[in-house]
């Protein structure tokens, strides 16, 4: 990031003090072009679909991948300046915890966790390892081999191993992806708690909004190798400004004029470009209800949602709209059914044209 650039949702000094990456990399048909910053002690969640370049960003930060051009800077120290300067991963103090625990199969749990302290020649490596195993509730497994561990146990040991190496920055690449429905929520909370206590600067890659909501204070959304939104968590998740992010976090974002919708308040009608509303605000019925803010749609599909059913509604020539419906009120809703949808005006937020322009041209 050069001095003339506008800050991307962060305090300007944050980039200089914390972790900053401004890199471009081409691999086959894929191009990564990102400019990201995390303040010291902050947690950035990198969201995006598969193939959007999230893991590639982590590889560049860790020093495992060399970008074609660009720099990675941590606390004023340049770690990567492509193509000639590359501080080796072992000298970066940037830890990486991936989707798979990748515990060394030939070492006991204790020796796995002590691997980092030993490699960094820290005193009392075994004692450090034991302390981390205790903190993560797996000290009783110290003498076991990784082969016999459950997914949740292995994930805890892998986290202990990453933290015992005393990194200054921790990169998490979907650390919960390989866990089952019981182990994942447990570890998610443990992770959030541990990261808060450790005070580490963290970059978390996920395709799960919940991870970002629990752990991150900043969010960046990646799409096809580019950052499409970047800012404080509440801003990005609470009020998505691109259709892509809206779909990602499960919020409806439609162009003005959609279904004859009118917001209760907001900028003057001529300045409004998009309308935003939550799936829970949408009611779906088989008979046409009275009143405004009502449109006809086709049920595309149904999927389970907490306490009910999420319905995806298709309207010709328009983006799909999500509606959360009570399971009891489902009635005869089936894919292909013609239905009427309604949103109360006070639940519709209006987005001005300027706002839209700002978010449709990333960086």
């Amino acid at each position: 990031m050069t001095a003339g650039d506008a800050p991307t949702g962060l305090a300007p000094q944050a980039a200089g003090e914390g972790l900053a990456a401004d890199v471009r990399l081409r691999r086959g048909g894929f191009t990564l072009d990102v400019d990201l910053a995390v303040p010291p002690g902050g947690t950035l969640a990198l969201l995006g679909p598969n193939g959007s370049g999230k893991s590639t960003v982590l590889g560049v930060l860790a020093g495992l991948l060399v970008p074609d051009t660009g720099t990675v800077v941590w606390r004023g120290r340049t770690l990567t300046r492509a193509p000639d300067l590359l501080v080796p991963p072992a000298e970066r103090r940037i830890g990486l915890l991936g989707q798979e625990p990748l515990l060394f199969p030939h070492l006991s749990v204790l020796d796995n966790v002590a691997f980092g302290p030993r490699s960094r020649r820290l005193p009392d490596a075994a004692a450090r390892a034991t302390r981390w195993l205790e903190r993560l509730g797996v000290a009783h497994l110290a003498q076991r081999r990784p082969r016999g561990l459950s997914g949740g146990q292995a994930a805890r040991v892998a986290l202990a191993r990453a933290l015992a190496a005393e990194p200054e920055v921790l990169l998490l690449d979907e650390p919960l992806a390989s866990l089952d429905a019981v182990a994942a929520p447990e570890l998610r909370h443990l992770l959030a708690e541990t990261l808060r206590d450790a005070g580490l600067t963290t970059v978390l890659v996920s395709h799960d909004v919940l991870d970002a909501a629990l752990v991150a204070d900043h969010v960046a959304v990646l799409r096809e190798g580019r950052v499409v939104e970047h800012g404080p968590r509440a801003e990005v998740l609470g009020a998505p400004r691109t259709e892509f992010t809206a779909a990602f976090v499960g919020v409806n974002l439609v162009p003005v004029g959609f279904g004859g919708l009118r917001p209760a308040a907001g900028p003057p009608a001529a300045a409004v470009a998009r309308l935003r509303f939550r799936p829970a605000a949408v009611t779906v019925s088989e008979q046409r209800p009275g009143g405004d803010n009502t449109w006809e749609a086709t049920v595309r599909w149904l999927e389970p949602a907490t306490g009910g059913v999420r319905v995806r509604l298709a309207t010709p020539g328009q983006p799909d709209v999500l509606a959360d419906v009570d399971a009891a009120a489902l009635g005869h809703l089936r894919p292909g059914a013609r239905v009427w949808a309604h949103v109360p005006a006070e639940s519709v937020q209006a987005l001005g044209r300027g706002e839209q322009a700002a978010c449709e041209s990333p960086t």
Partner: protein, 272 residues
Amino acid sequence: MTGAHDAERARQRLPLGVLVPAVLGLVLLVVPLLALLPRVDWSTLPATLLSPTARDAVWLSVRTAAAAVVCCLALGVPLALLTARASPRVAAVLRAVVTLPLVLPPLVGGVALLSVVGRTGLLGGVLDTLGVTVAFTPWAIVLAQTFVAMPFLVIALEGSLRAVGARYEAVAATLGARRLTVLRRVTLPLVAPGLLAGVVLAFTRAIGEFGATALVAGNRPGVTQTVPMAIYTAYNGTGVARDTALALSLLLVAVALVILLLVPAARRREAL
């Protein structure tokens, strides 16, 4: 009945067109070895194996093969690492070069080695002025055995290195381990089974080496007469010592068989 069970039964029911040649192949491999047994004079076997000629040959073979394995490790492990981490094109060339001694007649290897270390060979003059003689000494045996055995070690190890992949090494690096530490504490332990297989194959190949050794080292009893040389001499030379040839042959077959059966068992135990 489970699906897996069905699949197993289907696998057992191979067509006759496969089964018959498979059994014939087995017969071809096993029957000649079994045919050794009735020809062995079991009453004199211990005495034959303990005769000075046989003892010298066995001891020389064991020492030279062990030295050859050490050489294979010292040179072959780095070569396997180089091949496994090379770009695909370079790796293909390296693999072809490494495999060459495996497919060449060992006699050709012997001629080639002689043209390097022989008196008139490439390095013969240099070695002569240094007062070092390689050809027709036990060192020549080690050289010949290393030449023919190293491909086994490199190929077995390279396969393991590729299977393990670079992911564990990347994790180790982010934990602060420098490259040599990664190699010592992660890469080599992970490929230990492949390394063990490579060592065993290299040792058995080295101990049975004949063709290249015959040309580079000769066949002097007590100096360069390894077990295969002793077998050859006993059978072909004067024709009076067939018992020695048969006894030593049986010994080589037994040693190879035991090693080849024990190693997979050890690897299975390790995998548990």
